[in-house]
């Protein structure tokens, strides 16, 4: 049972721990109280929030339409899923037709030139979510690759830290929409898209903007984590005359991992927020573009669809954070274990 509880806690699903304890017969009354605290109250709060939302939405009527209530948002969400299914059917039909057409051609003349095309339909809501996720991960990985090594050097050497500090402080507060035109120009000039390029320019623009905005938390936290290593450990390293690579991988990284992971979690959170803004202008076909296109539509369903997007963005951000938390528990040694 302890193992199950341990796994649940690592996965961030600590709400189910009281249930497991109750099932194994521990003090039920205490566990019920715990359950109420951990699961009951949040559920009640959510229901109250939905109720209030529904009531307020009916009363607010702007010239751009009524604020959609929860039931309308649910309806729009269903509509989006249905559109996704329809598009997938069309795609399947297209591939079917292509298969038959090419088989016919080959049957008539084995040397005929056949062309296999990918379906050029428009991205559905689910496709857009996946594009956003891919972009944010690309940006996040680039940010990590830059920030962690620089952070380690800053942490190990006070000179390097002084050198980088002003640059970090100046560029940290810059918003993604300010970076975007510069990034667009640089990418346009240096990355030549031809038939079969790996990445589209809009994808690169969004990913690089995410990198520029989200590398600062990782950098600062890594530097902090490295600089606050126990001095005794560093002395041991000197006594054993460890090479710098061993020193970093065996001493520095393991002891500063908690702070590095905190930095990574913050970076991913910031990156996800920045992505939505960057996509709106960079035309990367993800959630940000979905929101902007719906705004441009101005139809009576638009506000509802935008609310669906807002909730999706929030839920995905929450999930990403949970995943990072789990990874952190897996990889770090904390005194809580």
């Amino acid at each position: 049972m302890n193992r199950i509880i341990h796994i649940l806690q690592m996965a961030g699903l600590s709400w189910f721990v009281p249930l497991v304890r109750m099932a194994s017969g521990e003090n039920p009354k205490e566990q019920l109280q715990q359950l109420w605290l951990v699961m009951g109250i949040p559920v009640v709060a959510l229901i109250t929030f939905l109720f209030l939302w529904g009531q307020l939405a009916k009363n607010i009527e702007t010239s751009l339409g009524q604020i959609p209530g929860p039931s309308q948002v649910l309806q729009e969400a269903r509509g989006l899923l249905q559109e996704h299914r329809n598009e997938r059917e069309r795609e399947a039909a297209f591939y079917q037709r292509q298969q038959e057409r090419n088989a016919e051609r080959l049957a008539a003349d084995p040397n005929a030139e056949v062309r296999w095309r990918t379906y050029s339909g428009r991205p559905t809501y689910i496709d857009q979510i996946i594009t956003s996720l891919k972009t944010v991960f690309m940006g996040f990985i680039l940010a990590t690759l830059f920030a962690v090594p620089i952070g380690i050097f800053c942490g190990l050497s006070p000179t390097v830290n002084s050198a980088f500090n002003p640059i970090i402080q100046i560029f940290k507060p810059v918003s993604p929409l300010a970076w975007l035109p510069i990034v667009t120009m640089v990418v346009s000039a240096t990355y030549v898209t031809s038939e079969g390029a790996w990445f589209e320019k809009s994808f690169l623009n969004s990913a690089i903007t995410v990198t520029l905005c989200s590398l600062w938390p990782t950098l600062i936290n890594t530097a902090l984590g490295v600089s606050s290593i126990d001095k005794d450990l560093m002395n041991v390293g000197r006594v054993l005359q460890l090479g710098w690579w061993t020193k970093i991988t065996k001493l520095v990284l393991p002891s500063s991992l908690p702070l590095i992971f905190t930095g990574l979690r913050l970076s991913l959170g910031v990156g996800w927020m920045v992505l939505i803004a960057a996509e709106m202008l960079a035309q990367n076909p993800g959630l940000g573009k979905f929101v902007w296109d719906e705004f441009q539509n101005g139809s009576s369903q638009s506000l509802g669809r935008i609310m669906v997007a807002v909730l999706t963005i929030g839920l995905i951000g929450f999930l990403l954070d949970r995943i990072m938390y789990t990874l952190q528990s897996l990889f770090t040694f904390s005194d809580k274990r």
Binding site: L64, Q283, N297, G298
Partner: protein
Amino acid sequence: MHSRFTLTRITRCLSKFAAASFFGWMISTQSMAATPKIGKPEKDELKFGFIKLTDMVPLAIALDKGYFEDEDLFVTLEAQANWKVLLDRVIDGALDGAHMLAGQPLGSTVGFGTEAHVVTAFTMDLNGNACTLSNAVWEELKKNVPTENGKPIHPIKADYLKSIIEKQRSAGNPFRMGMVFPVSTHNYELRYWLAAGGIHPGFYAPHQGDIAGQINADVLISVTPPPQMPATLEAGTINGYCVGEPWNQQAVFRNIGVPVITDYNIRNNVAEKVFGVSKAWADKHPNTHVRVVKALIRAGKWLDDQNNANRKEAAKIISQPHYVGADYAVIANSMTGVFEFEKGDVRPAPDFNVFFRYHATYPFYSDAVWYLTQMRRWGQIPEDKPDSWYQDMAKKVFLPEIYRQAAEQLIAEGKMLKQDFPDFATETGYRSPTHTTFIDSIAFDATKPNEYLQQLPIGLKAGEVIKDGKVVKKP
């Protein structure tokens, strides 16, 4: 006697001559009868951009009705955030081509804004815009406008707006209006309408870094993205705007504004949107370009077919979220040939959008020259240019030869008739000066642009330039 011209010799010469001319005749009729088929497209997977306005409909129809597929082209249509992003993406190659404002290829090639050689071989539509004022301004304006049977007489000239603008200015509150892009057709139409009413819309001075366009202005005109126009109108940030559909009818539906004039009444039947590509792309993909124009011509014809019979279906198609997305009811009015001014005041407007009639799709040089004259009028072209410059620029940007190739292909394939097109043998590319009626009745002769500029009441005249915020005459 030996004569050089013996009978046999003469007969031999004559028969050779006859044979040669017979062969020549044969060859010429063959080439007239069989137009060589356009070769395979160099690139068949294309991405075109558009802005969510109802006149992107030819692209939607060409895609949904399979006209692109008939030309072996596999097209994706992608909505863009705004006109600037769209133009930049065409120039840098992320998009193969796009639904563009008629002024965009001209502005870019001339060098106002991002400089790049952009061309067009197809006019997507004529007309299609309107100017809307806020409810507060309309209430004031209504008092000045003469009525007939209780309804205001249209077209409403900007003269009636003058006193309202003066009143606001003297109260320290400048009159503001929005349009979509500095080289947009809406900008020129709005300025034309205001100037015809004696109101100064402002000058540009790009050579001195001033691209706000508000020098000496009675009305401050600025760029506002179309989806934000209803909100900014309601908030009072602007007092009116000039934009394409569905944003004028949206204002009426939501009770936040009243359209007062359509551009059909300001100046009718001049190119509004064009299908633009970069020159580099056009040079690299000549066959593809002709095929795209072929598909678009067919779409244009379908839209105007049988006196707009297909317009309802077209409105349904573009009300889907991935095209224009506005509600069907809002789009239907203008697409089916009526226009609602004040709430309840619905008037017929059969030529509000013209997609094929009056040879709408042919890229006339005279349309290009008109836009260039307006660019000069308001200072976007800072200095005088000789008449020949206007004609050369028009020829650089508008490519009727490609349109002609596309049209001839369609005729040869039997998909369209010769009567659908202008007579290519005699077409000069210049419309007659009586083709367009302007609200101030000044006729436009595209062959004499400088003379035309002299006749316009407000605007830079020959020899004038802007220096430090003032109009000075160059010595």
